[in-house]
């Protein structure tokens, strides 16, 4: 087991390196630089500014300096947000994105499993079709549409909720963005849960449980649902990392100070260190959550454990 974890962690390093290298050189290949927006800088001032951020050095040397910085755990200063380091900006943005995303994912998981179970138990009956239609809607209609339409309905027309802003994490400010994030996740989870539960319900041990005279709710809760939820782990763990991207649009629409906004602004302003810092954090999060998913899978499903010892 430890060997398995160790091996997987070791494979992560070259993967991260490829990602970092690709994004670094792509960013540098982009036309324009971070100081284009400042109208008419004196050539000497520009030169000094470029020197301050090491931009006057050859690209390969910049890359070396950057890698050395990462090894020291230093992501460098942001260019666009003067006086802030990249680490500080991520420390400001990440809690917002995480609070938003984790709340959404938790709600989506609970409701999704509930709806998926109801649908599976009413297979091919009206309730199943109703939930299926709901799930199809959630998958087909993107947050790009739900977010502004929800704002229009509850913010502008009924004036029940604030239209945007973070309000220091006040729950009223969270309702609309979280709802918009929940819908697509809820739909996917409900579908997965339904399919998985249907498969388990046809297994011999469920028949045995029923034959031994257990009440139906006990068969479902104790014998069918736990194994049916295992496949969800491999969806949910990477989704924790995925919500960071999911919330880019949400953060833009509702004007929330999350990581996604910093990333988009950073890319537009050629804020190289900021963009690179967010890419690294995100890629590492994805890789680690994938590993967590595999490990949890092993803990929950003993049949897959042998795979890990090799």
């Amino acid at each position: 087991m430890t060997r398995f974890i160790f091996k997987r962690l070791l494979v992560m390093i070259p993967t991260l390196l490829v990602i970092v290298t690709l994004s670094f050189f792509l960013m540098r290949a982009a036309p324009g630089g971070p100081f284009d927006a400042d109208a008419q800088l004196e050539p000497e001032v520009l030169e000094n500014l470029r020197a301050a951020y090491d931009l006057d050095k050859p690209v390969l040397q910049q890359f070396g300096l950057f890698l050395a910085g990462i090894l020291r755990g230093d992501l460098g200063p942001s260019i666009g947000y003067a006086d802030y380091s990249v680490a500080e900006l991520i420390a400001i943005g990440l809690p917002v994105s995480l609070q938003l995303g984790l709340t959404a994912l938790a709600i989506a998981a609970v409701l999704g499993i509930l709806l998926g179970t109801i649908a599976a138990l009413n297979r091919n009956r009206p309730l199943d079709y109703a939930i299926g239609t709901l799930a199809m809607t959630g998958i087909a209609v993107p947050t790009l549409i739900t977010a502004p339409v929800l704002t229009l309905l509850f913010g502008v027309m009924f004036k029940l909720l604030p239209v945007g802003g973070w309000g220091d994490g006040d729950w009223r400010h969270m309702i609309l963005p979280v709802t918009a994030l929940v819908l697509p996740q809820l739909a996917v989870i409900a579908r997965l849960a339904r399919g998985s539960l249907l498969e388990v319900l046809s297994q011999p041990w469920v028949r045995t449980a029923r034959a031994s005279g257990l009440p139906e709710w006990r068969v479902i809760l104790r014998h069918a649902l736990p194994p049916a939820l295992i496949p969800l782990v491999s969806y949910l763990a990477p989704a924790v990392a995925g919500i960071m991207t999911g919330s880019i649009v949400i953060e833009q629409i509702f004007g929330l100070p999350g990581v996604g906004r910093y990333f988009v602004n950073g890319a537009l302003a050629r804020d190289y260190p900021l963009v690179m810092g967010i890419v690294i954090v995100y890629a590492a999060a994805v890789l680690i959550m994938n590993l967590v998913a595999d490990l949890l899978y092993g803990v929950l499903d003993p049949r897959t454990r042998r795979r890990m010892t090799t």
Partner: protein, 300 residues
């Protein structure tokens, strides 16, 4: 009694007819019997038809600005059936123009990734061994790329050249197809007809393209119908963030973004393009689900 006999005869005849059907014709029959799939197809034809032909119906040009008619709601007066936007341009023709771009981008990008993915996966699966292992390791590494972050970086690199950007997205989206095709190829490789072709001395490229690829297409077709809406969404998403299609041309994502900016004063500018995008998403999802049910070997 006679009714029962008649049904039995019908069943026998139906069974005989099925036996003579090719895989694709049987799939087409199953697809056409699926109500939501046919509805999806119908919806898609409507949306595509609108995007192609709507400008012919309207007297307006997509770039023409009417300063005296800014942000008026949908009306028959002056033939502004969907109203005008914040610059006084007719929304009806702009939605059609945006639709052409969104749909074209979806199609081009999906085809690009399809081409790369099918060839790559088929070669990896067919050759096998160490080469397969390395080819798939590359796919694994690329999978870990934070896709949307990467696309945003690519967009800043290629700037305004939207076609290049979407070719680039196509170059990233092929990964899943490559995996599917590789798995299928490995299964097909062991069949007798491949062995027969090999014993006849069919060259490698012909082997892959003529004998392997056509037999692994089923799941690929399903995946591509779901890939097109994904790409359209990525485009809308980029345009929404101001990174995609630029004025004066437009796309649904850009129209939704502009509609969001004026949602308190002119909600139709948000709701109409959002409706078109949602309809397209539904259409492709229904078609994709229908195709999956029609082509799934387990359902046969």
């Amino acid at each position: 009694m006679s009714g029962e006999a008649a049904t039995r005869d019908q069943l026998v005849m139906a069974a005989a007819a099925v036996r003579g059907e090719s895989l694709w014709r049987a799939a087409a029959r199953r697809f056409m019997a699926n109500r939501s799939a046919v509805f999806g197809l119908f919806l898609l034809v409507l949306v595509v038809g609108f995007s192609l032909f709507a400008p012919l119906l309207s007297p307006h040009d997509m770039e023409e600005t009417y300063w005296e008619r800014i942000q008026i709601g949908p009306t028959f007066e002056n033939a502004h059936w969907f109203g005008t936007d914040a610059n006084g341009r007719d929304l009806f023709v702009r939605i059609a123009a945006g639709g052409r771009i969104s749909l074209a981008i979806g199609l081009i990008t999906a085809l690009t990734s399809l081409l790369i993915g099918v060839v790559y996966g088929a070669i990896a699966g067919y050759v096998g061994g160490r080469i397969d292992e390395w080819m798939m390791r590359i796919v694994d590494v690329l999978y870990a790329l934070p896709l949307i972050f990467f696309i945003i970086i690519l967009v800043t690199v290629f700037g305004r050249n939207i076609l290049l950007v979407f070719l680039a997205i196509g170059c990233i989206e092929w990964l899943t197809i490559a995996r599917i095709v590789r798995g299928q190829t490995i299964a097909v490789k062991e069949t007798e007809y491949i062995e027969a072709a090999r014993s006849l001395g069919v060259p490698f490229s012909r082997m892959v393209l003529r004998h392997v690829v056509p037999n692994v297409l089923g799941p690929v077709v399903v995946f591509s119908t779901l890939l097109i809406p994904t790409v359209i969404l990525v485009e809308s998403f980029l345009s929404f963030l101001g990174l995609g299609v630029q004025e004066p041309s437009t796309s649904w994502g850009l129209l939704i973004s502009q509609g969001t900016a004026t949602l308190d004063t002119a909600p139709w500018l948000l709701l109409i393009p959002a409706g078109f995008l949602a309809a397209t998403m539904f259409a492709f999802n229904f078609i994709g689900d229908g195709l999956r049910d029609a082509l799934d070997p387990k359902s046969r």
